[in-house]
């Protein structure tokens, strides 16, 4: 059994008796393995945020079950244990910081769990170092940049010593620099601390860096697999109005116009490597043509 298991879950925000029920999730089954880095892609309204909230029992599915480390999210006696293990980071960094001093905000989670003071101190320092914000521990959050605030929010979750962090579009409100900061932090936590990461995003370049990509559309899983497996299905993604990374798009169009390109490049580097021989051949051909 995987670390987080969703079994055929359905969800609707409408009342059960409502005449017209709009199902946000229509039977989703998926598993998140321990130590994985998963990207969850999809449009607004595809159900990706909703499914994230079922992972830490913020929402309970109308049908089906969600298990976290074999614990049923419907079981109220393990509610705080589940929320401790699966931390959720939201989109707007301003709205999830509670205290006026960085270190006191990071301490909020462990304080709620009733951890002894010396242990909280140790965890807060460790968490702030993990997100490289230790030097800012006495600052006021409102004076920090968006990327820094989001890293504080992540530190606040780490201080609860979770197994898994679910992030609901954490970079949507950040500038490019803040996005890189947050993404680098997540990869570091995944590699060094073995924390499972579920990243909900609509940025393709973020999804490319994940170990596994799950694409959602209208409350169902459209496709899943490694980034290569997913983004090589350019037609399927286009049909559902989803983007593919620019490098993949370029290669796809070149292939469609008859150029011979190997594989499916996902990043700019891979794309350059794939195009180089092609361009060299073309210039050589041109040179011969001149004479």
């Amino acid at each position: 059994m995987d670390y987080i298991n969703a079994e055929n879950i359905t969800f609707s925000y409408d009342e059960p008796e409502a005449a017209e029920r709009h199902e946000v999730l229509r039977g989703v089954s998926l598993g998140i393995r321990k130590g994985e880095f998963v990207a969850l892609l999809g449009h607004n309204g595809s159900g990706k945020s909703t499914i994230a909230k079922t992972f830490n029992a913020m929402l309970l599915p109308s049908g089906g079950k969600v298990y976290v480390d074999k614990m049923d999210t419907q079981d109220e006696s393990v509610l705080y244990e589940i929320r401790r293990r699966v931390g959720l980071v939201l989109q707007n960094p301003d709205n999830q910081l509670v205290a006026s001093v960085v270190e006191e905000d990071v301490a909020f989670g462990p304080e709620n769990l009733g951890v002894p003071p010396e242990e909280i101190r140790r965890r807060v320092d460790e968490a702030l170092k993990a997100v490289e914000m230790y030097d800012f521990r006495l600052n006021a959050p409102y004076k920090l940049s968006g990327g820094q605030k989001q890293r504080i929010a992540i530190a606040g979750i780490i201080a609860m010593q979770p197994d898994c962090i679910v992030l609901d579009e954490p970079t949507a409100m950040l500038d490019p620099r803040g996005r890189t900061e947050v993404l680098d932090t997540l990869h570091k936590l995944n590699k060094e601390k073995g924390i499972t990461i579920v990243l909900i995003t609509h940025y393709m370049d973020e999804a490319v860096q994940a170990g596994r990509v799950i694409v959602m559309d209208s409350g169902r899983i459209l496709t899943e697999g490694t980034p290569e497996e997913v983004f090589s299905q350019v037609e399927l993604l286009k049909k559902h109005h989803l983007d593919v990374p620019q490098a993949t798009e370029l290669a796809y169009r070149l292939k469609a116009s008859g150029f011979d390109l190997p594989g499916c490049p996902l990043t700019i580097e891979e794309c350059v490597a794939a195009l180089e021989p092609l361009l060299k051949k073309a210039t050589v051909g041109e040179a011969y043509g001149d004479h």
């Binding site: 707007n92 001093v101 270190e103």
Partner: protein
């Protein structure tokens, strides 16, 4: 511009006053304020003034900061002292028609002015040398006995913490909304009082809407971090009283005793 407003006006430092336990500071400030009103003559008030002066110098906060906080209430000081000028008996110093100023009136005015200034200075020292979080934490501890009366002490303290945390955020937001409305042609600077108040509506409505959205997000974020009220909650920073606090308490007791002694030996100014 609007962002310059700081609430609480905490000025970080490591002075004797900064290092006192917040709980002790709050209680002593309260006691001092009571004793400002207990002192009924100049001798007693002078004792309190010496205490304030000592505290101001010990706090390590630039004196200009204190002048700033006094400037804010300048109008109140002038208003009350002028009113007091016409009360009280004694020799008539000046009269015009039925208005007359007496020596008693002058004494009253000076007395009340010193009282108000002392009051402001004492509360300024508290807010200048204690961080907002320390203040709310200390208040939570002080109010703990009220739990027996089913007062939700923890919830009140948490609300204060959150309110203080969101003051700068909401100020920034107000600034943004004002700019956005001005860009759409909203006129906030001209017209009479009523017109100006009406011009605030297009700022307040978006501000309220976004505040509710923020509140919803924050509540969710707090629940995600296992918040479930004050039950079983611990604190990272445990507030300890130290020998410094003992010194402060002893000095305060001496001063308060002196004020009581002055009340007994010298006649009262106000009648």
């Amino acid at each position: 511009m609007i962002r310059d407003i700081t609430l609480g006006q905490y000025i970080p430092g490591k002075s004797f006053i900064h290092r006192l336990a917040p709980r002790v500071k709050i209680i002593l400030t309260f006691v001092y304020i009571v004793f400002i009103f207990v002192a009924s003559n100049f001798e007693g008030l002078l004792t309190m003034s010496v205490l304030i002066l000592g505290i101001l110098l010990l706090s390590g906060v630039p004196l200009s900061q204190y002048f700033k906080s006094l400037k804010a209430i300048l109008f109140v000081v002038i208003f009350t002292s002028v009113l007091n000028l016409f009360y009280g008996g004694g020799n008539v110093l000046w009269s015009w028609g039925f208005i007359q100023i007496t020596s008693g009136g002058v004494a009253n005015a000076v007395f009340v002015t010193i009282r108000i200034i002392s009051l402001i200075l004492f509360s300024s020292v508290l807010t200048f040398t204690t961080s907002p979080t320390e203040l709310t934490d200390a208040l939570e501890r002080i109010m703990k006995p009220l739990k027996l009366l089913h007062v939700k002490v923890h919830e009140i303290a948490m609300m204060m913490t959150i309110a203080l945390r969101f003051v700068p955020t909401l100020l920034e937001e107000t600034d943004k909304i004002m700019s956005a409305q001005k860009a759409r042609g909203a006129d906030m600077e001209s017209g009479g009082l009523m017109q100006r108040i009406r011009a605030l509506i297009p700022i307040l409505i978006p501000l309220f809407v976004s505040s509710f959205r923020r509140a919803y997000d924050l509540a969710m974020a707090m629940e995600c971090r296992c918040y479930h009220g004050g039950e079983g909650r611990t604190k990272m920073k445990v507030l300890h009283a130290t020998s410094l606090d003992a010194v402060a308490v002893v000095v305060s007791l001496v001063v308060c005793a002196a004020v009581v002694a002055c009340n007994l030996y010298f006649p009262a100014v106000l009648h």
